[in-house]
């Protein structure tokens, strides 16, 4: 499986510089939102955790349209690695390329912009990493569902966003709770549960869906 993972990762980062694009989009989107909201520091510090999570979700959506396109599905189906394992590797590659850079850098940026939130750093790192994992896994599911359809991008967003709402709510909730010095462990535990469930179940579901589509063709 490591071989498949590295293969996917190389494809994602080499061809279109996905890593840089996602992180760049995220940075620009945050900046745009901050400009729109205005420089009031009180409002910003209240809004920023939720904003970061929402924009991370949207950045994850960006990489999805070419997740399964141009993929040689016949090769995958015949390969020695089982399809669910390959799908898991795909989700992890997407995670590494898009989610993790944001998960690492965003809390640092937030701690710079919002005074006194350095204590949040571990919570935000963990939370963003876990929700990035969920978004990538659920995004893989959405890509599998829309495989072979025309007009992909908006449809994928339409499908994936409702399903990604729970990790979003728990992640942003954890960050807000940490910001107010309340208990952030409970939402974080839920978020971890969702991340584990999605990373294990979504590859199986995606593999099953792809197999059904390919064999019914």
């Amino acid at each position: 499986m490591m071989v498949v993972y590295r293969h996917f990762l190389r494809r994602m980062t080499r061809d279109r510089g996905l890593m840089g694009q996602s992180a760049g989009f995220f940075a620009l989107a945050v900046t745009v939102c901050v400009f729109a909201i205005g420089p009031d520091a009180v409002i910003l510090s209240a809004v920023l955790p939720g904003l970061v999570w929402a924009l991370q979700l949207l950045s994850a959506l960006l990489g999805l349209s070419d997740m399964l396109e141009g993929e040689d599905l016949d090769d995958l189906l015949l390969a020695r690695t089982s399809l669910p394992a390959a799908m898991c590797a795909k989700a992890l590659a997407h995670l590494t390329a898009t989610g993790l850079p944001i998960a690492v850098l965003a809390p640092l940026a937030v701690s710079l912009l919002v005074p006194g939130s350095a204590a949040l750093l571990p919570c935000m790192w963990l939370g963003l990493a876990l929700s990035a994992a969920s978004f990538s896994a659920i995004g893989l599911l959405g890509a599998a569902l829309t495989l072979g359809s025309r007009r992909n991008a908006a449809l994928q967003a339409l499908i994936i966003l409702p399903l990604c709402v729970p990790p979003l709510i728990f992640g942003a909730g954890a960050a807000s709770a940490a910001m107010l010095d309340q208990g952030w462990q409970a939402p974080m535990a839920f978020l971890a549960a969702i991340a584990c469930a999605s990373l294990t179940l979504c590859p199986f579901a995606a593999a099953w869906i792809i197999r059904m589509k390919v064999t019914s063709a």
Binding site: L145, T146, G148, R150, L155, L158, L163, A205, K213, A217
Partner: protein
């Protein structure tokens, strides 16, 4: 039994007998229900006449969830057994369920504004019903987005199954989170023995609920029959 009804022709004959019965039941029940709801049932002592919106809001909510659950069953049957009728039911029932959800949301808003002074609030039940609405829209969009209709049905069936987790969330949201939407007045047997809802209000509610169920089932059956004819036309066109 399942495979016995996989044959569309047999479904046709079943539908021919079932349809008039359901249509008659729907007409009678809805006629009684509407008269009951709008004229006979008493104005609530707290909410006065605005409580009458409940008689269309709650049955719509029931139908939205009921149809989604039926679609879930149909989706499972389609995926596991490749049952044709299940696929037909899925395609027929989804837009009807979406209509019911939309009506539930809109009438809820129209009820909320005079009663609690707000069109919308992000409490657990409203949010999860809104997610249900998005799910319906996403699944319907998915059915039509493919060049090969079978791919559309497969994708729609899968998304329906995945979205089934939303139903328990809707049902138990008023117990898990304590927010604005009132807790259910009808659930446990204990509650039924000492109903929080008086008999005079329960009766129109149940009649409207049953009537709406029969009515929407009629719509679904008509849609299924239309779908069968459409497929036959397509098949003969492809062969020709």
């Amino acid at each position: 039994m399942i495979t016995r009804f996989a044959n569309p022709a047999r479904f046709e004959s079943l539908a021919k007998t079932l349809l008039p019965v359901l249509a008659a039941m729907a007409t009678v029940l809805l006629a009684f229900g509407l008269v009951d709801a709008l004229l006979l049932s008493p104005p609530d002592y707290q909410q006065s006449d605005a409580v009458r919106i409940m008689y269309i809001h709650v049955p719509s909510a029931w139908m939205a969830m009921f149809l989604y659950a039926c679609c879930g069953g149909a989706a499972l049957t389609f995926i596991v057994w490749k049952h044709t009728l299940a696929e037909l039911f899925l395609r027929a029932a989804l837009p009807v369920g979406a209509c019911a959800t939309a009506i539930c949301l809109v009438t809820g808003m129209l009820w909320g504004q005079p009663m609690w002074g707000t069109w919308w609030v992000w409490d657990a039940r409203l949010t999860s019903v809104l997610v249900l609405m998005f799910l319906y829209v996403a699944i319907i969009a998915l059915t039509g987005a493919f060049d090969r209709p079978e791919h559309g049905s497969i994708a729609a069936a899968w998304l329906t199954l995945i979205g089934l987790v939303n139903l328990p969330v809707i049902k138990y949201s008023v117990e898990w989170w304590n927010t604005l939407h009132q807790p259910s007045s009808l659930t446990s047997l204990n509650r039924m023995a000492n109903p929080a809802l008086s008999g005079e209000m329960l009766r129109p509610l149940l009649i409207m609920g049953l009537g709406l169920t029969c009515y929407l089932l009629v719509v679904v059956i008509v849609r299924m029959r239309a779908e069968i004819i459409a497929r036959r036309l397509n098949a003969s066109r492809v062969q020709a």
